[in-house]
């Protein structure tokens, strides 16, 4: 097994060569992957906003953004700049503190979840033992922010939208957690790196999706609902609720909601790739390729190629699911609130429990195929 490159080790070694102590070198290194990850997530959002507009336009036989930059690629940047310069209108009857805290509480946990998104063996912010469970925990903070902003606006649309958003989030969190549980059981670990490594070795055949087809569908539906994407975008159903909990928001606070929702979407797509589609693994194992070309495993160039291929593969897989989510937006109509809750509680929850128990049973009977 190729250990992959360890940037942290190299960086700290270089700094200690300059005469700095080990602790200080580690402290200097610490913010580097974090800032890179936040920057990467923001760029990922800009790209997905652009993709969303371009693909939506293509689905409706329009051209979409085309003037700002080549193919309109700078249109999301211009949108963001515009929102920075917009006036911040706080309703006179609102609670100004909660009104400001709401969007912050929505954005922070979503960004924080990028802690555990791996792009390679050592290419993540931190390989904490709690891993995927941290994401489940952080994603349950978001409904608090939504409720907070809905309630503090003192606006009927916002209040109803906030309540709906909270109900939807909590209803789909359980199927999501159950789908992740089945994966955790197969991997014997919560760590995202180990979950990907358990899928390695057999190329495309080793990916979890073949062993967890129902779990994958469960996860995908629940993730779409958690991200409030069509067909589950009831909290902001414009015909009924204007813009839901965002109704009173303008300027930068609105931009934070917008950013948060897209960061969450990209995060969900990345986690689909990590949990079910082998993360950074190629469809053909890279060790096999290296053996075919007679390149030794510890070749420096192979390791760099491996790392960059890993990042590319993760992003390719994630953006494929993003593409699916955008196409779904123009394919299916929005569900009603009773249909939404019925789907979550009366279908996905029993299916999730059954899937978990079947996985446990299969693990007992066929331990070699389900992670021992």
């Amino acid at each position: 097994m190729n250990p992959g490159i360890d940037l942290q080790q190299r960086f700290i070694e270089t700094l200690t060569d300059f005469g700095l102590s080990d602790g200080i070198s580690k402290l200097i290194w610490m913010p580097v992957p974090m800032l890179l990850m936040i920057f990467g997530a923001t760029v990922g959002v800009l790209v997905s906003v652009w993709l969303e507009r371009k693909i939506s336009a293509a689905a409706q036989q329009r051209i979409g953004p085309e003037f700002i930059g080549p193919l309109g690629i700078l249109a999301p940047v211009a949108d963001g700049m515009k929102l920075v310069f917009k006036e911040d209108v706080v309703p006179a009857n609102s609670d100004p503190w909660l009104f400001t805290l709401g969007p912050a509480l929505v954005v922070i946990p979503v960004f924080l979840s990028y802690l555990i998104v791996p792009f390679g063996e050592n290419l993540l912010v931190s390989n904490v033992g709690l891993g995927i469970f941290l994401w489940i925990a952080f994603s349950s903070i978001v409904p608090i922010g939504l409720l907070m902003s809905g309630y503090s606006s003192n606006n009927k649309y916002a209040l109803l939208g906030g309540l709906r958003a909270a109900a939807q989030s909590i209803s789909y969190e359980i199927p999501l957690a159950l789908a992740v549980l089945a994966i955790v059981m197969m991997s014997n670990s919560l760590s995202t790196v180990e979950i990907v490594e358990k899928q390695a070795g057999y190329g495309i055949l080793g990916w979890n999706v073949w062993r967890q087809p129902f779990g994958f569908i469960l996860f995908w539906i629940s993730a779409l609902a958690e991200c409030e994407r069509i067909p589950f975008d009831l909290p902001e159903a414009e015909e009924e609720l204007v813009a839901g909990y965002q109704t009173e928001y303008s300027g930068m606070k609105f931009a934070l909601f917008y950013l948060g929702s897209y960061v969450n979407l990209v995060l969900s797509a990345l986690l689909v790739a990590v949990l079910y589609f082998g993360g950074w693994e190629l469809p053909i194992p890279i060790e096999t390729l290296a053996d075919l070309l007679h390149i030794p495993q510890d070749n420096a160039i192979l390791q760099v190629v491996d790392a960059s291929l890993g990042i590319t593969m993760t992003l390719l897989k994630a953006y494929f699911f993003l593409f699916l989510a955008i196409l779904l937006r123009w394919t299916v109509p929005r569900v009603r609130i009773d249909q939404l809750l019925d789907l979550g509680w009366k279908f996905l929850l029993p299916v999730g429990l059954a899937n978990l128990l079947i996985t446990a049973g299969l693990k007992l009977t066929l331990p070699f195929a389900f992670g021992g």
Binding site: I38, V84, K86, N93, N154, L256, L341, L356
Partner: protein, 120 residues
């Protein structure tokens, strides 16, 4: 074995992530024009004069869902350690989890039959 390695990154990342909204709102505060006139700050109600506030007592239909959610969320929290250690526990743990889940499924069926999962 309980090792807390890597969690200093969690704290650092929490700090940096908290700076995102703070920096964004500060930057916009410096750059944006200030609010003009009291009319702009009235509550939006599709262009009409707002009738009453939203901070009133009303029936939250999601209440029962929230209650059922708490039960099942705690269930999943209990199941996580079981799932991680399952490869070492064997058949007995499977039967135990089966009983645990069966009790909760009975609870779900009860809530379903009582109409707690109905939207009306």
């Amino acid at each position: 074995m309980f090792v807390l390695s890597g969690y200093e990154y969690l704290l650092g990342f929490l700090l940096i992530c908290s700076l995102v909204p703070v920096l964004a709102l500060t930057a916009s505060k410096v750059l944006r024009p200030s609010s003009r006139g009291p009319e702009r700050r009235t509550t939006y109600e599709s262009g009409m004069e707002p009738v009453g506030g939203a901070w009133i007592q009303f029936n939250i239909r999601y209440y029962m869902f929230a209650l059922v959610f708490v039960i099942f969320d705690v269930e999943t929290v209990f199941l996580y350690p079981w799932a991680v250690a399952f490869h070492r526990l064997g058949v007995l743990a499977f039967i135990e989890a089966l009983i645990f889940i069966a009790i909760l499924v009975i609870g779900l069926v009860y809530a379903w039959r009582k109409g707690a999962l109905e939207w009306s």
